[in-house]
Symmetry: C2
Amino acid sequence: MSEPRKLEVLRAIVEDYVHSREPVGSKALVERHHLGVSSATIRNDMALLEEEGLIAAPHTSAGRIPTDKGYRLFVDRISEVKPLSAAERRAIHSLLEGPDDVEDILERTVRLLSQLTNQVAVVQYPHLSRARVRHIEFVLLAPRQVLVVLIADSGKVEQGVVHAATDATDEELMALRARFLGSIASSQLDLMPQVLPSVVALCPPALRNLAGALAHGLERLAERSRDERMVMAGTANLARSNVDFPLSIGPVLEALEEQVVMLRLLSDMAEDPRGVTVSIGRENPYDGLSEASVVATGYGPGSSAKIGILGPTRMDYPNTMAAVRAVARYLSRILGG
Amino acid sequence: MSEPRKLEVLRAIVEDYVHSREPVGSKALVERHHLGVSSATIRNDMALLEEEGLIAAPHTSAGRIPTDKGYRLFVDRISEVKPLSAAERRAIHSLLEGPDDVEDILERTVRLLSQLTNQVAVVQYPHLSRARVRHIEFVLLAPRQVLVVLIADSGKVEQGVVHAATDATDEELMALRARFLGSIASSQLDLMPQVLPSVVALCPPALRNLAGALAHGLERLAERSRDERMVMAGTANLARSNVDFPLSIGPVLEALEEQVVMLRLLSDMAEDPRGVTVSIGRENPYDGLSEASVVATGYGPGSSAKIGILGPTRMDYPNTMAAVRAVARYLSRILGG
DNA sequence: TGTTAGCACTTGGGTATGTTGAGTGCTAAT
DNA sequence: ATTAGCACTCAACATACCCAAGTGCTAACA
């Protein structure tokens, strides 16, 4: 049998199954796709594909369904990333016009991506390691409680509360702010752990304790902004697209709520030379996602932060991949990647 | 028939149905609850209750289910808010120890509430109208792009980007910051719209344009912090608690995602003298929530911000109400309500 | 060697039919 | 006002059956 046709058959199965949600049989295949052979031949090919573990039959007399491995082969070797439709391009352009506050942009982006793909969209906050310190602010909330605010030149603002061991005054904070700012202004966020200790060391002994606490707070903020946060949208799509098909959505919602899980998932996805990375079914390290796939890619400076979608393994990979890639590119452009 | 017993029957029906998820019949009732009468009597009472629209039968030969109206009567006149178990109290205390950054606190609170109730928990950011301005900061991101940061003494930080019509310099921003801060520092956030215009008017003409834009930005931030945001947790509970029972979760997820909808829903809930307010099924103004109930209450200064949960109409109201109330009280105490 | 027609075989899903049991409403007696 | 008793209803379950879709295999064919 011919190797190319076998792939063609797999492609046909995947495509049909994805959009009909039903096991697809040999006869239906030859009807819908004009492969130039009979159903019997297809049956032979399908037997082969099944041997190789690329497709499976739910029961004896049903059609075949792609396995995780089948999808994998499909995205790796068969499918081509379809160009977006004009309407979709327009949607991207128009929806991303507007305020360029990072937070706003990400929110709109993720909403857009979820609409485009009909899946749950997730975006990680951009890494700010290469961002620089623009401003810091210490605000006395209570005698021993200081609000620390860190503003990066990317427009990102991080805040946190620090508890001091002793009472602090506004004057002390002003002084410390000047000291800190003097040595870390315009330096990269990820250099802070190296720079801050020396600043603390240079402080007059009376302030050293407070300075230490504040420095620690700043480091925490820089750390947090590294990769700690994400935005998501489109959870309702989970319910819709699975209305009469399993992918029990409980575990998926749990995963989504455990931001840590999602963030690790995204971070761990290797960067694929083709632009978008796909993780299918059991390939996912998290159990609850064994029936789900993640399609993600990097964006922004160095493609370090990730954006992507989460959906049932049975999804339209070519279009989804195209949408993710396009949105990520556009996002990079806006954020000056 | 005796009025008190009728209520007793309704209570029994609600309680049984809530925990068995199955229509409850007369026989089962007399067995589980020691009402001192026979099933026939109960049947008569049930017929009455049905006439009044408090319960309904899914089909002729099935037991009865409480209607929205039945639940309403139940929470209004029958149920008592149960005290929390010791374990629950402990959970509240221990989980809310920790950093007292507003954002952190709300996140932990909402997570706690969702675990306590097994429902989706939602909390509105505290109203800051009575909060005062602690600090403002203007940061030049690009020649015509200014990041405006507003820090309230409550510890809340709001940020946004303002576009200037003309190029601005750091010096100008410094000067304007001093001006603004001079007149609005320590004044209440909701007074800003009244104060700011006069500040702008007093600016030298060269700066007036920029000042106007910044003032507008500040107002927007104050506005936004009023009630625009919320945090939620426990969406996975939707899937779990409805594993084989409808309350089609799609529409509910949609509502949750439309923060605007949820915020209006919360805001519109009248304050109940008894502490918590309940909105049941079709009482909800939003269509997608016709099979859901909201249990909410105010917290913080003037109980102006809301916290609550969202779940199927068939829920354990007494316990849920108790949990919501307890958590809200505790939250008020922490935030200094 | 690859393809195809034909055929026997499997099996999930649909329909028709019975059976069961929980539950009801009503009536008559207490 | 309560209750025992009874006829009645109806969803849920079970059983049997048929049908269509689909398969694997074999034998013939190019």
